[in-house]
C-alpha cells in the first residue's frame, strides 16, 4: 500500500515537472526566432518608436511586420559584421522573407483591429508588455476572451460585450 502511494506520488510529481519543463523552457510565449532580434536594443536603447517599423498599426487591422528592405535600410551601414545581422543580409541577397514565428496569434474567428485600439489611445505596452525591455519577444497577456472582455468592461467600451464586436 505504501509502495502504491509512493509510486503515485512519483508519477504525479514527475508529470507536473514535465509540464513545468515544457511551459518554462519550451513555451510558445517566447518561441525561438530565426534571427535573434532584440527589441531591447531597438526600441529600448535606441528609442525607435513602435510605428517606425510596425507601420500599419494605425491604419489597418494588422500592425505589420517590417519588410526585409526596412531592416537592411539601416543595417547596410550599422553593425554589418554582427553574425545575426549578416543573416538579415543573407535573406536580403536571396530576396527571401524572414520566417518569423508568431508570438501573438489570434484564431481566425476573432476579429481584432490594431487601428481601433491605437486610435482609442491604448498604449502598445498595455497588451504587448514592456517590449522595450525584452531581448526575446514574450507574450505577457493571455489573449483569451476573458482578458479581452475585462479590458472592454473596465474601459466602458461601447458594444464591448457584444458577441458581434469580435466574432463577425
Amino acid at each position: 500500500m505504501r509502495k502504491f502511494f509512493l509510486f503515485s506520488f512519483i508519477w504525479v510529481a514527475t508529470f507536473i515537472s514535465g509540464y513545468w519543463i515544457n511551459t518554462s523552457w519550451f513555451s510558445d510565449k517566447q518561441p525561438a526566432q530565426p534571427i535573434a532580434f532584440s527589441h531591447r536594443i531597438h526600441a529600448g536603447e535606441n528609442g525607435i518608436p513602435c510605428l517606425y517599423c510596425h507601420i500599419y498599426a494605425e491604419r489597418s487591422t494588422a500592425a505589420g511586420v517590417p519588410g526585409v528592405q526596412k531592416c537592411i535600410g539601416c543595417h547596410q551601414i550599422i553593425k554589418r559584421d554582427a553574425p545575426e545581422i549578416s543573416k538579415v543580409a543573407d535573406y536580403w541577397e536571396r530576396k527571401k522573407p524572414i520566417p518569423w514565428i508568431k508570438v501573438h496569434n489570434l484564431p481566425d474567428f476573432v476579429y481584432f483591429s490594431h487601428k481601433r485600439h491605437i486610435r482609442a489611445g491604448i498604449d502598445c505596452n498595455s497588451c504587448h508588455g514592456n517590449v522595450a525591455g525584452m531581448d526575446v519577444i514574450t507574450r505577457v497577456s493571455s489573449l483569451k476572451m476573458g482578458w479581452c472582455i475585462d479590458c472592454h468592461m473596465s474601459h466602458n467600451v461601447k458594444n464591448g460585450r457584444d458577441c458581434w464586436t469580435c466574432h463577425k
Binding site: 514535465g18 491604419r59 505589420g64 522573407p97 514565428i101 483591429s113
Partner: protein, 747 residues
C-alpha cells in the same frame, strides 16, 4: 529499503510521467504559425486593408459593373459597382461566383499541345515560345499556300475593343471569317427590332416606369438580357412610385421565375404567343384605342386575329384577351416584351414582331415606361457577318484549315445533331484560347490558356444600354495566377511572328497599349461631354476609378419609328411548327437558361451548382418539369427516372412535378451534362440540347430551343434528384395566400 526492482519501476514511472506532462504542455499550445513579411512592401498594399478595383462582370452578356475587394493581392469578394448605370450596385449570383472562375482548380495552367489522336484527349505542356511558334508556323503555311480565307476565328459575343483587335487581325491576315457565337445571342430579337423599328442595337425596355408589363416568355428577372437591371426596374415599377403599383402579366407555357412574380399567369399554348399578341392588337384596333390614320389598314391586317377566333388555338379565354387588351391600351404607358422563350421557335422572329406591333398600337414605342431608343454605340460595332452555321458548312466541305476559338463552347451549346463534332474533326488544326478544358477545347490541337476576367484587360459597350451610352472597363484586379495570357496579346505576338502587313498594321506591343489607344478615340470623340478632364490621363484615371465611361446627361431623344410595311410579311396566322408528330411525341419541350449555369458555362462553379434553382430548389443536377396531372395519369412520381425521346435524341432525367407548367408541356433546364468541364461539371446531369435537331434557322444561324416535341416513358429506376424544399403542398399553412379568380371577380 527500496528494492532495486522497485527503484527501477519508480524511475520508469517517473520518466513516463515527465514525458506525459511534457506532452500535455505541448498539446495545449496553438501550433506555431509563421509571420511572413514582404521583402519589399508594395506601396499600394496595406495588409488588412482592402483595395477595391472597378471592373466588368463577364459572367453573362448584360455588362454589369463590378467592384472587386482585393486583400494583399488576392481577390476576396465581388460586389456590384454602385455608380454603374446597369446594375447600380447590385449583382446576381452568377456575378458573385466570378471568384470561383479565378480560383477554379480546373483552370488550364500552361500552354498545351496534343499528344496523339483527337480521341485520346492527351496533352503535353509546352512553353509559350513553342506554342506561339507552332501557331505562327501553321498560319504561315496558310499564307504561303494563299489559303488565308481558310482561317476561321470563332469567339463569344464581344462588344468591346477585343472584338476590334480580332477583326483587325483577320482582315490583315486576309480572311473574312470572324464569327461571334453564343447560345443566347438574341439574334432574333435584334433582327425583329431591325425589321419593325429600323434599329440596329437593342432598345431599353423601361420596366421601371410602366404601368402594365406584358411579358411574352421573357424571364427578365432571371436570365433574359439584363436581369439585374430588370430587377431594379421591376422593384421600381411595383413599389418605387408613390400611389401606383405596376402590374405584370406573364404569358408563357412554363411558369418561370418572372412568372412566379407576376399578378397573372396566362399559360398560352406553346408556339402561339405571337398570335395572342396579335389578338390583343386586334382588340385595341376594334375597340378604338388606336388613333392612327391607318386604322383601316391595320383592321384588315389583323382581322384573322379576332379573340373569338384565336381563343381555342391559343388556349386562352377570349373575354380575358379582350379585357387584357383594354387594360393594356389604357395603361399608358404599358410595355410588352418578347423574351427568349417566345423567340425560340422556328418562326421566333414572327412572335417578336407581333409583340412589337402590339407595342406600336398601344403607343408604347419611344415613350417613358415603354420601348426607349438607345444611342449608337460610341465605338464601331464588331460586324460578325457570318454565323456558326457558316463554320459548320465550310468545315464539312473541307474549306476550313485552321480554327481559332476563344471563350465559346459550341460543342456543348450546339445539339449533337448539328454535327459540330464531325465538323471539328474535319478541321486539320484547331487552336483554343480558353481558361478551362471545355468540350470544344478538348477537341483542340493547341491550347493557349487565357486570363480570367479578374486578371485581364478589356471593355464592353453595354447592349441594351439604359437609354444612354455606357462603356465599362475591365482591369486586372489581381496578377495572373498561372501562366496564362490575354487573348489580344496572343494575337499581337502572332502578328509579329507573321510579319509583313500584319505586323505593320498591328504595331502595338501588347493589348493594353492598343486598348488605351482605342480609349483615346472615345475620349476625343466624346470630349464635349465632360469639362472636368482636360487631358486624356485625367480622363483615363477617372475611367479606371469609376469603372468606365457613361454619360447620363446625354440621352437620345431620337424617336423610334415603327415601319409598318416591313412587318407585314412576318405576320402569319398559323402557330409555330414543331419537329415530331403529335401522336408519337405528345409533349411540347421547353428548354430554358438555368439561373446559375446560364448556357452551361457556369456548371464548373460549385457555388452555382450548390445554389438551389429558384423554382424547384434542385441542386447539382438536371430535372424534367412535368405537370402533376399528367404525371398522375402516367403514374410518375417525383424523382422517377424518365426516358425523354425526341425524333433526334433521347436522355434520362429525373422527374420533378411542377404545377407551373401546362399538362401538355415538359421542360428541362440547360446547363448540365458536360463531358469534360472539370471536376464539378463533368458527367453530371444531362444536356437537353441533344434532343434538338441541328441548326434549322439558317437566316440567323441559331437553334430553336422550343420547336421539338418529345415523348416520355417511365423507367423502372429511381433518378438522383437532390432538392432543398420539403413538401410543396400548402396544407392550409397560409404560406401563400390566394383567392380563386371567380372570387376576385365578385369583389
Amino acid at each position: 529499503m527500496l528494492k532495486r526492482r522497485d527503484f527501477l519501476k519508480a524511475l520508469g514511472l517517473g520518466g513516463v510521467g515527465t514525458g506525459l506532462g511534457f506532452m500535455l504542455g505541448e498539446s495545449i499550445k496553438t501550433p506555431a504559425t509563421n509571420l511572413i513579411p514582404y521583402v519589399v512592401p508594395p506601396e499600394d498594399i496595406v495588409p488588412g486593408v482592402a483595395n477595391w478595383y472597378s471592373s466588368l462582370c463577364t459572367q453573362c452578356n448584360a455588362g454589369c459593373g463590378i467592384i472587386v475587394r482585393v486583400l494583399e493581392g488576392r481577390a476576396k469578394k465581388i460586389e456590384g459597382n454602385p455608380h454603374h448605370p446597369v446594375n447600380q450596385g447590385r449583382l446576381c449570383a452568377m456575378g458573385q461566383a466570378g471568384l470561383q472562375a479565378l480560383y477554379n482548380p480546373d483552370r488550364i495552367k500552361t500552354p498545351l499541345i496534343r499528344k496523339g489522336s483527337r480521341q485520346s484527349e492527351e496533352f503535353r505542356a509546352i512553353t509559350w515560345e513553342e506554342a506561339l511558334s507552332v501557331l505562327a508556323e501553321n498560319l504561315m503555311k496558310l499564307k504561303i499556300a494563299s489559303n488565308t480565307e481558310k482561317l476561321f476565328l470563332l469567339s463569344s459575343v464581344i462588344r468591346g475593343h477585343m472584338g476590334h483587335l480580332f477583326e483587325t487581325f483577320m482582315q490583315n491576315f486576309g480572311s473574312p471569317n470572324y464569327i461571334q457565337y453564343d447560345l443566347f445571342q438574341h439574334k432574333e430579337l435584334i433582327f425583329a427590332n431591325k425589321v419593325s423599328m429600323g434599329i440596329n442595337i437593342l432598345p431599353y425596355y423601361d420596366i421601371g416606369n410602366t404601368n402594365l408589363l406584358l411579358s411574352f416568355g421573357a424571364d427578365f428577372l432571371n436570365t433574359w438580357l439584363s436581369p439585374v437591371n430588370h430587377s431594379l426596374g421591376y422593384g421600381h415599377m411595383r413599389q418605387g412610385r408613390h400611389g401606383s403599383r405596376g402590374r405584370l402579366v406573364q404569358i408563357e407555357p412554363r411558369l418561370s421565375l418572372s412568372g412566379a412574380n407576376a399578378d397573372e399567369w396566362i399559360p398560352v399554348r406553346p408556339g402561339t404567343e405571337g398570335i395572342l399578341a396579335l389578338g390583343l392588337a386586334y382588340t385595341i384596333i376594334e375597340e378604338g384605342y388606336y388613333k392612327g390614320q391607318d386604322i383601316n389598314e391595320w383592321n384588315k391586317i389583323l382581322s384573322p386575329y379576332k379573340p373569338e377566333m384565336i381563343s381555342e388555338l391559343t388556349n386562352t379565354d377570349n373575354e380575358r384577351i379582350r379585357t387584357l387588351a383594354r387594360e393594356f391600351a389604357s395603361a399608358r404607358p404599358g410595355l410588352a416584351i418578347a423574351g427568349e422563350n417566345a423567340a425560340s421557335y422556328t418562326d421566333g422572329v414572327n412572335h417578336i414582331i407581333a409583340v412589337n406591333i402590339l407595342n406600336h398600337l398601344a403607343d408604347n414605342i419611344g415613350k417613358t415606361g415603354g420601348v426607349i431608343s438607345n444611342p449608337e454605340a460610341p465605338i464601331k460595332k464588331t460586324q460578325s457577318l457570318k454565323d456558326i452555321d457558316a463554320l459548320l458548312r465550310n468545315a464539312r466541305a473541307g474549306e476550313v484549315e485552321t480554327l481559332i476559338t476563344y471563350n465559346t463552347n459550341p460543342v456543348f451549346t450546339l445539339p449533337h445533331n448539328s454535327k459540330i463534332q464531325e465538323a471539328l474533326e474535319n478541321i486539320p488544326f484547331v487552336v483554343s484560347l480558353s481558361c478551362f478544358m471545355d468540350e470544344t477545347t478538348a477537341h483542340a490541337d493547341l491550347i493557349l490558356p487565357t486570363h480570367t476576367s479578374l486578371e485581364d484587360w478589356g471593355d464592353d459597350i453595354t447592349e441594351p444600354a439604359t437609354g444612354y451610352n455606357t462603356a465599362t472597363i475591365m482591369q486586372p484586379a489581381v496578377s495572373p495566377l498561372y501562366d496564362s495570357r490575354n487573348a489580344g496579346d496572343i494575337l499581337l505576338s502572332t502578328a509579329k511572328r507573321l510579319g509583313n502587313r500584319l505586323q505593320k498594321n498591328m504595331p502595338w506591343d501588347n493589348f493594353r497599349d492598343f486598348f488605351i489607344e482605342s480609349w483615346k478615340t472615345i475620349y476625343e470623340k466624346q470630349r464635349h461631354t465632360y469639362a472636368g478632364e482636360p487631358v486624356f490621363e485625367d480622363f483615363w484615371n477617372k475611367v479606371l476609378t469609376q469603372g468606365g465611361w457613361w454619360d447620363q446627361e446625354k440621352r437620345t431623344h431620337q424617336s423610334i419609328h415603327f415601319i409598318k410595311d416591313n412587318v407585314k410579311r412576318f405576320i402569319s396566322s398559323s402557330p409555330s411548327l414543331f419537329q415530331g408528330n403529335e401522336d408519337e411525341f405528345p409533349f411540347y419541350l421547353i428548354l430554358y437558361a438555368h439561373s446559375g449555369y446560364y448556357d452551361g458555362r457556369h456548371a464548373n462553379l460549385p457555388w452555382l451548382q450548390e445554389m438551389p434553382d429558384p423554382m424547384t430548389s434542385v441542386v447539382w443536377g438536371t430535372w424534367i418539369e412535368i405537370n402533376p396531372q399528367t404525371a398522375g395519369k402516367m403514374g410518375i412520381r417525383e424523382g422517377d427516372l424518365l426516358l425523354v425521346e425526341s425524333p433526334y435524341g433521347k436522355l434520362h432525367v429525373p422527374a420533378y412535378l411542377y404545377p407551373g407548367i401546362r399538362p401538355d408541356t415538359v421542360s428541362i433546364p440547360i446547363g448540365q451534362g458536360h463531358k469534360t468541364y472539370g471536376r464539378y461539371a463533368g458527367n453530371r446531369g444531362s444536356n437537353p440540347l441533344d434532343l434538338l435537331p441541328g441548326i434549322s434557322r439558317h437566316e440567323t444561324g441559331t437553334i430553336p430551343l422550343n420547336s421539338t416535341r418529345v415523348k416520355i416513358t417511365k423507367s423502372s429506376e429511381k433518378g438522383n434528384l437532390v432538392k432543398m424544399e420539403g413538401i410543396t403542398k400548402e396544407f392550409d399553412r397560409q404560406i401563400v395566400q390566394t383567392i380563386p379568380p371567380y372570387e376576385r371577380r365578385q369583389n
